[in-house]
């Protein structure tokens, strides 16, 4: 008797479930587990001990009383809010510009904005190292223009907004192409006759943007915002390079995700238990903020409207 074949839908579902389990749930559970143990210096044996909420207590104590850790919290908030704004609004503006300029020129224009994303992190970091360090391009320009009288170490000495501006600027450049490409294709997906109808109805560019294009791409706006929010909470590659090379001051260039990384793998400390607690906190905050954004932007209302049609 041949065995009955597994029907394809079940096959796909079980495959997806497997992937989610291996690459998402298992690390999450391991992190949660590790945060309840005293594991340090990769001493795996300690994973069997159990210290309850001790690491969380330590973590909140650090946030309250360690000025460096509380700076990390502030940096994270400023970085995420600032870069998110740059990425979403910048992405929108670039998409609009790409949509309005001529078709052929538009492709080159869009590719240009992809360069920061495609450039290896180290190369991109080096570029901005040469731009921002005291003897770098930025100071040279400012000196030429007589805006400053002697070189300024923007990332180290101008606290807190020097390093904050730099990390927002660099990550904004990296992330802006994401929103741009999604908004651009969303604008392209609106039927041409809708634009034409609006023009015939007397619409100016401003009316097209605010009354037709933006309302019709709400979904994309919600999606890009939430997606970028979550990626910004967890990103640290560019920040790592900027901090490591001293472009920015350590604690004002370090977001929570980088703090987790440093705590777990950094040269000074190797406190995986504390890092796990910090990572778990990040996941919880991330989920909370994501849901809040969805609610604020009316995602549920939209979903409800669609359900009503089914």
């Amino acid at each position: 008797m041949p065995r009955p074949r597994l029907p394809p839908p079940a096959l796909f579902l079980s495959l997806a479930a497997f992937l989610v389990l291996v690459f998402y749930m298992v690390p999450l559970i391991l992190t949660l587990w590790a945060s309840l143990t005293p594991v340090r210096n990769w001493d795996i044996a300690q994973l069997r001990q159990f210290v309850g909420a001790e690491n969380y207590r330590r973590l909140f104590h650090l946030i309250r009383f360690d000025p460096d850790v509380s700076t990390v919290v502030k940096t994270t908030i400023v970085f995420v809010a600032g870069t998110l704004t740059v990425n979403v609004l910048g992405g929108l503006l670039l998409a609009l510009a790409a949509f309005i300029i001529e078709e052929r020129a538009s492709l080159g224009f869009r590719l240009l904005w992809f360069l920061p994303r495609m450039t290896p992190v180290a190369v991109f970091g080096l570029l901005w190292y040469y731009f921002f360090y005291p003897q770098g391009t930025l100071n040279a320009i400012l000196l030429k223009l007589h805006l400053i009288s002697h070189p300024v170490n923007w990332g180290q000495d101008v606290l807190p907004w020097g390093p904050w501006s730099i990390i927002i600027f660099v990550n904004g450049l990296v992330g802006v192409s994401y929103g741009m490409i999604i908004f651009y294709s969303a604008f392209k997906a609106i039927p041409k006759d809708i634009y034409r109808a609006a023009l015939v109805d007397g619409a100016r560019l401003r009316d097209l943007v605010f009354r037709i294009m933006l309302p019709l791409t709400r979904w994309h706006l919600i999606f890009v915002t939430v997606w970028q929010l979550l990626s910004l909470l967890t990103t640290y590659a560019h920040l790592f390079v900027l901090v490591e090379w001293g472009v920015v001051e350590k604690w004002h260039g370090m977001t929570w995700a980088l703090y987790v990384f440093e705590t777990a793998f950094g040269s000074a400390v190797n406190d995986q238990a504390l890092a796990s607690a910090a990572a778990t906190l990040l996941v919880v905050v991330g989920i909370g903020l994501g849901l809040l954004t969805l609610r604020l932007m009316g995602f549920e209302r939209e979903l409800g409207a669609i359900r009503g049609e089914l």
Partner: protein, 392 residues
């Protein structure tokens, strides 16, 4: 209200010529129709008038004023799109109000004007709905309301009835015509459906491959097709086009297979002579055919064999074959019900027969004088089409 005129208008998309040297005048306050098959350039022509496309060459005038370079929002035209193009995120009210909202009119005036146009089109019950909650016919009315609410100088309609079922179409057709009469707006109605054009328009412009083939009243276009394309396009079914030889005895006579002979009187006879044609295409309408067992006195009669009989309810459509194999269609009373294979006579009154030059495809009556002076404005002939293409 304005008169719309196109002077030598061309439109190219890359190498493709979509509209070719169009000269047209749409009279003030009249209902004109642009009629042509799919892909003939109707929508392109309408978009040129609306300002959505800029002409590659030529100019467009509203009341004698050149508007060719004006963008659509400066032309005060109302346009009903082929697919309606309603704004999906706006209610019916907001859709209709859109042109007024953009102008920044006061709320009260907007409400009043939207409600009045909605009442006129019987959609005042639907104002709170979204476009996706409407039927095709209702969407069409909303699109029309949006075009009318700004009281445009020109109303442009792009096959607005093509998505509707036959019954609704007939109903809206009547309403639209009455509405246009009442408002007196210069209206240009694009359609591929000749019965719509014949029923509604004061003036019809037939377009084919981007070129205007004939401009005239429905009567003109129907009774005196300017060239073979128009003859073969207009009518339900269109005119029979039969190849025929010309004999000279010594006056010229047209000889059709199956014994049909037609010796035209003046001035047609001398035109035929002047052109020196050996062959012509004879055209006559299926409804002008009298089918009988015998040839009829004073008619041109051809013997033919019945091939198919289609019952259309009010009438029968009989397809016959002439002895040389050419097909001829005849509309007959439903009482006459011949069987395939029967021999019958196709009788046509001589005055109902039109003759066309097979080379230029032009109606011989319409050709002015000697062959050298053939008119250049209407190009239906293969050579001329080729010549025009080479010129591009």
């Amino acid at each position: 209200m304005v008169e719309v005129e196109l002077r030598g208008v061309w439109k190219r998309f890359g190498d493709f010529v979509a509209v070719k040297n169009v000269n047209l005048r749409f009279p003030d306050g009249k209902f004109s129709s642009i009629l042509g098959p799919s892909g003939s350039g109707k929508t392109t022509l309408l978009y040129l008038i609306a300002g959505i496309y800029k002409p590659s060459r030529g100019e467009i005038l509203f009341d004698g004023e050149d508007v060719s370079r004006l963008p659509p929002n400066k032309r005060n035209v109302g346009l009903v799109f082929q697919n309606y193009a309603l704004y999906p995120h706006m209610t019916v009210f907001e859709n209709i109000a859109f042109p007024l909202t953009i102008k920044g009119l006061p709320r009260g005036e907007i409400e009043e004007r939207v409600h009045s146009v909605a009442r006129m089109l019987h959609i005042d019950e639907l104002l709170d709905r979204y476009p996706h909650q409407l039927s095709g016919g209702q969407q069409q009315r909303v699109a029309l309301a949006r075009a009318l609410v700004k009281e445009p100088a020109v109303l442009l309609l792009d096959e607005p009835l093509s998505n509707l079922d036959a019954l609704v179409r007939l109903e809206i057709r009547g309403e639209l015509k009455r509405l246009q009469r009442r408002l007196g707006i210069t209206t240009i109605y694009v359609t591929h459906d000749q019965s719509e054009a014949l029923a509604m328009a004061d003036l019809i412009a037939v377009i084919h491959r981007g070129e205007i083939q004939q401009v005239g009243s429905p009567e003109d276009v129907y009774r005196r097709p300017r060239n073979l394309f128009v003859a073969g396009f207009i009518g339900m079914p269109p005119a029979n086009l039969v190849k025929a030889a010309v004999t000279r005895t010594p006056t010229p006579c047209v000889v059709i297979a199956g014994g049909g002979e037609y010796c035209p009187g003046e001035p047609l006879a001398s035109k035929l002579e002047a052109l020196g044609l050996e062959a012509v295409v004879a055209a006559f309408r299926p409804e002008d055919v009298v089918l009988g067992e015998h040839p009829m006195e004073d008619y041109v009669s051809m013997e033919a064999e019945v091939y198919v009989v289609e019952t259309l309810g009010r009438e029968n459509l009989v397809t016959l074959r002439l002895p040389d194999g050419q097909a001829v269609k005849a509309i007959t009373s439903p009482l006459l019900n011949p069987r395939p294979g029967d021999k019958m006579y196709v009788n046509v009154e001589p005055s109902k027969i039109l003759l066309y030059d097979p080379d230029t495809e032009l109606n011989i009556e319409a050709i002015e004088a000697a062959p050298a002076a053939r008119p250049v404005s209407l190009a239906g002939s293969p050579e001329r089409r080729r010549a025009a293409q080479e010129e591009d």
